[in-house]
């Protein structure tokens, strides 16, 4: 057998024991190594950003270089708008497609959709930006929150679809049977019993998708573009938090860097909080099903 082979040519016992200890230690070290950048990034961002966070930061428009104060309220609201548009488009599509894949999983189409969803989740986000540029910006002749939202919506779909599928598959068949046996039609069984039972996990997936979309920068660079002021409408260039951070970060001005750190801190906190919520939801879910 393989194991015997393995032992056969691995030398004397002492050497093997030393190798054992070295390899196990390396494994522990790599685990630590992964934590270091995380902790470092988190605390560095917090330290650099927190001093610029005040009420103005959330309520004021950006000030020109040299003028103290100001905030990035337009970028925060813009991000909410763009992510909102994305969610309004991406979540229903992802959810319904996920339902199809989970509930009618024996079909060829379901397998194909699974594969294509995986492909979609691997497409670089900047390419989705090019696509949104081609089909919306070029047609409407201007950058807009719609274009950005469209791109983010596409990026949300795979996460939502996959989570929906996985969570629905965790719902035991016996619940579906119980519901059907009561004369409840299949569609209602899916929506009112199965989906509701899996809702914790699905909400998790939706939150994750939103958190990721909120941090996306590349697909917004040439769709929603940016704006130093309030956007006139959803159909005009709109500032967003990540793009604003990018523009500030590559600028030569220290005040802008500070603002960017503050923005990054807001983003990281958002991600952290959502991940925590997700953890709690999925953990409860786990306990319930055991």
């Amino acid at each position: 057998m393989e194991a015997a082979e393995l032992l056969g040519n691995s030398g004397n016992l002492k050497r093997r024991k030393v190798i054992n200890i070295i390899m196990l230690t390396l494994s522990v070290i790599s685990a630590l190594a992964a934590i270091i950048p995380l902790v470092y990034i988190f605390f560095y961002t917090a330290a650099a950003g927190i001093s610029s966070i005040n009420l103005d930061f959330f309520t004021e428009l950006p000030k020109p270089v040299g003028e103290p104060g100001g905030g990035i309220a337009n970028a925060i609201i813009g991000s909410i708008e763009i992510v909102g548009i994305g969610a309004a488009f991406g979540i229903p599509v992802g959810l319904l497609a996920g339902i199809y894949v989970a509930e009618y999983s024996k079909t060829m189409v379901a397998n194909l959709v699974k594969f294509v969803t995986d492909v979609l989740s691997g497409i670089p986000s900047i390419i989705v930006g090019i696509f949104a540029y081609g089909v919306i910006v070029l047609q409407s002749k201007n950058f807009s929150a719609f274009a950005g939202g469209f791109a983010l919506g596409i990026l949300m779909i795979p996460t939502v679809t996959r989570m929906t599928e996985e969570m629905l598959k965790l719902v035991p068949l016996s619940l579906r049977e119980a519901s059907l046996a009561l004369g409840i039609p299949r569609w209602k069984t899916t929506l009112r019993i199965v989906l509701r039972t899996a809702s914790g996990g699905i909400i998790t997936g939706i939150l994750l998708a939103i958190a990721r979309a909120a941090g996306e920068t590349a697909p917004l660079l040439f769709t929603s573009f940016g704006n130093s002021f309030w956007a006139e409408s959803l159909d005009s260039p709109t500032a967003s938090l990540p793009v604003q951070i990018f523009n500030y970060a590559i600028s030569p001005y220290e005040e802008w860097h500070n603002k960017a750190w503050a923005g990054a801190f807001v983003l990281i906190t958002l991600v952290f909080v959502i991940s925590l919520i997700v953890r709690i939801i999925t953990k409860n879910k786990f306990h319930q099903s055991v």
Binding site: A31, I41, I126, G215, I268, F272
Partner: protein, 320 residues
């Protein structure tokens, strides 16, 4: 129709419920949305193909092999970007793979439950940090550190290798490789961990029974999981290749091909990010979209391979 049914009835009367119209409607509605995803992917491909027409006509396959990228002269070749993407991604992989395997082994074989959950959670967060934050951190923390500490050290220790000598400015292939490594460690390690978990415990026990050390038992599990781990690695490669913001912020954005990893370079995603909104003309835009098309093709192939590798391992193991 009538005849067919008649015949069927004589032989075996089928008992089947009549279709419930709303059920049928619901199934078809969800199907429609599922198909929408497929349609969307094809639409993306079509759109990119169509919009890169001018550039493809003009440069043909030479687009990929020419290193010249001069918007002013309307000369476009993507080789320098392909080079930057490939080299920075491979550096990332070389760093991320061993670390990720270490983490996967730690998580699936060594760690006590509480550390397991905490570490998994932290790695999840690491995966969720927006790439703009990595890039920002790269500019202000990692790049100076590379310039002042790492690169001088590497040059003095390994300077005889051409990769590790040259101007030390902190922004370049090596720095972006490191940032990318940090970004793909979560995905490689978590999928490898999942793959390792599918290897039956009995195999490890058999190894112990033969007197194997813990590491030897783990090594056997790793060997058995190798195609799944390869899949995870390839998936990580796909991420690295498509990553945009973090790379744009630390790679230096200079369209050149230099042997030194200290030198600035440019990646496919970065050139799109930097030039797209201010493209100087139709041809420039078309060329950028063709870069996108190439990037798409590369990531598509990489991801399909990765998925097939992962499906095959996890399936094989669960059937057993």
């Amino acid at each position: 129709m009538y005849l067919f049914r008649k015949k069927e009835n004589i032989e075996l009367k089928e008992i089947k419920s009549k279709t419930h119209i709303t059920d049928l409607l619901f199934e078809k509605t969800t199907l429609l949305f599922a198909l929408l995803i497929i349609f969307l992917v094809f639409w993306i491909i079509y759109e990119m193909y169509k919009d890169s027409e001018a550039s493809r006509q003009m440069f043909g396959w030479g687009f990929i092999t020419s290193p010249e990228w001069e918007p002013v002269k309307e000369k476009f070749g993507a080789l320098t970007f392909v080079y930057g993407t490939v080299v920075s991604s491979l550096i990332a992989l070389a760093i991320a793979l061993p670390v990720s395997l270490g983490i996967a082994v730690f998580l699936s074989e060594l760690a006590p439950q509480i550390i397991k959950t905490t570490l998994s959670f932290l790695i999840e967060i690491l995966a969720a940090i927006p790439s703009i934050v990595f890039g920002f951190w790269g500019i202000f923390v990692l790049a100076p550190f590379m310039r002042n500490v790492v690169q001088p050290f590497l040059e003095s220790a390994l300077g005889f290798i051409p990769f590790f000598s040259g101007t030390k400015i902190g922004f370049g292939l090596l720095t972006s490789g490191i940032v990318l490594a940090i970004m793909i460690i979560p995905i490689i390690s978590s999928i490898s961990r999942d793959v390792l978990k599918t290897i039956p415990q009995a195999q490890r026990e058999a190894a112990y029974a033969l007197g194997a050390t813990r590491w030897e038992a783990i090594k056997m599990a790793l060997l058995n999981a190798k195609s799944g781990i390869l899949g995870a690695t390839v998936l990580g490669l796909g991420r690295a290749v498509g990553e945009t913001m973090a790379v744009t912020m630390v790679i230096g954005n200079r369209a050149q091909i230099k042997l030194s990893w200290f030198e600035p370079a440019y990646s496919m995603a970065s050139v799109i990010a930097n030039e797209f909104a201010e493209a100087s003309g139709k041809l420039h835009l078309s060329a950028l979209i063709e870069v996108g098309l190439v990037l798409f093709a590369v990531t598509f192939v990489i991801n399909s391979m990765a998925r097939l590798l992962i499906y095959s391992t996890t399936k094989k193991m669960t059937v057993k």
